[in-house]
Amino acid sequence: MSRSDVLVDADWAEAHIGDPGVVIVEVDEDTSAYDKGHIPTAIKLDWKKDLQDPVRRDFVDKTGFEALLSERGISNDDTVLLYGGNNNWFAAYAYWYFRLYGHDKVLLLDGGRKKWELDSRELSTDVPDRPKTDYTASEQDASLRALRDEVIAAIGKRNLVDVRSPDEFAGRLLAPAHLPQEQAQRGGHIPTARNVPWSKAANEDGTFRSDDELRTLYASEAGLDFSKDTIAYCRIGERSAHTWFVLHELLEQPNVKNYDGSWTEYGSLVGVPIELGDGR
């Protein structure tokens, strides 16, 4: 598998607008961004309303995912090209989520919405009406997802990568600096976790850095031992999905999981160990 099997650039996307085998999907934290203008023919997925169960803190189940994709007109044979704002945080999360349910023909648009906008490429307000399909999903692939107990058991045994900013890692902030500080009961990080902020994997325009730069970042600078399995986490699992994409899809490390419960879960658990400070 090469980089171009999972990541494509804006020229590729432009060339495939209107391609009947490709569905372009925008996934945002702020879903009003799509309404203001999106890549022509793109449909919208609301990462909260569409991808999360409305009552329990969990994904929609397999049946729900099948209903969602059928209703949106995505078929099992379609190549799904994902992009979005926040340097592709939520598009990477959706990529991981699609892979979790067995949709392997999925691509990420390098640079996401930001690079498309900064390059002044065409945006449309037309909302496509795709005919409904009969989508079938697989059972969730547990090899890609880490849950709470597995994470606690991994302390001191596997690589734990905390991809939040250094201030969040140290416990000085509870959330990224563009959101009010809220949600976890305590600040800090999981003991033994290494802090490799997600942003170090991306260029300023939102594109991913080269494979060589990424290998240097994680193996040499951060000292991750790739002979061990890795679990990535952040606050709610979307920045860590960005890093999961880098480690599992770009650098092709075989055993990498995303802990989507992340700090909003761990930092509020009764009785678990927490470490403060900048670490290393």
């Binding site: 002044s120 201030d167 990224p176 600096a177 563009h178 959101l179 300023e204």
Partner: protein, 87 residues
């Protein structure tokens, strides 16, 4: 000091270009060593807002056509640091 910002260190402002708000663009908050902290798309009024920690930060603005600007700012709890940027 407003109650809403009592526990937050807010950095906010607007970006304008040739007298008009810049509505397509991004504001980035960077720490020491150019370390990325946060980024937001500019609002319909060219506005941005960050909830930082106390201390010095660099605000960087990116817009189409290669437009860029940078400002140094100082944030503190219970304070709204306003930075208007002409790009």
């Amino acid at each position: 000091m407003s109650a809403a910002t009592g526990s937050q260190a807010v950095v906010e402002g607007r970006v304008v270009h040739e007298g008009a708000p810049v509505v397509t663009g991004y504001a980035r908050l960077l720490g020491t060593g150019d370390e990325f902290v946060a980024e937001v798309p500019l609002g319909d009024d060219g506005g941005f807002r960050f909830f930082a920690a106390p201390g010095p930060w660099t605000l960087r603005v990116l817009a189409p056509g290669g437009l860029r600007a940078e400002r140094s700012v100082e944030a503190d709890y219970g304070q709204v640091t306003k930075v208007d940027v002409t790009i």
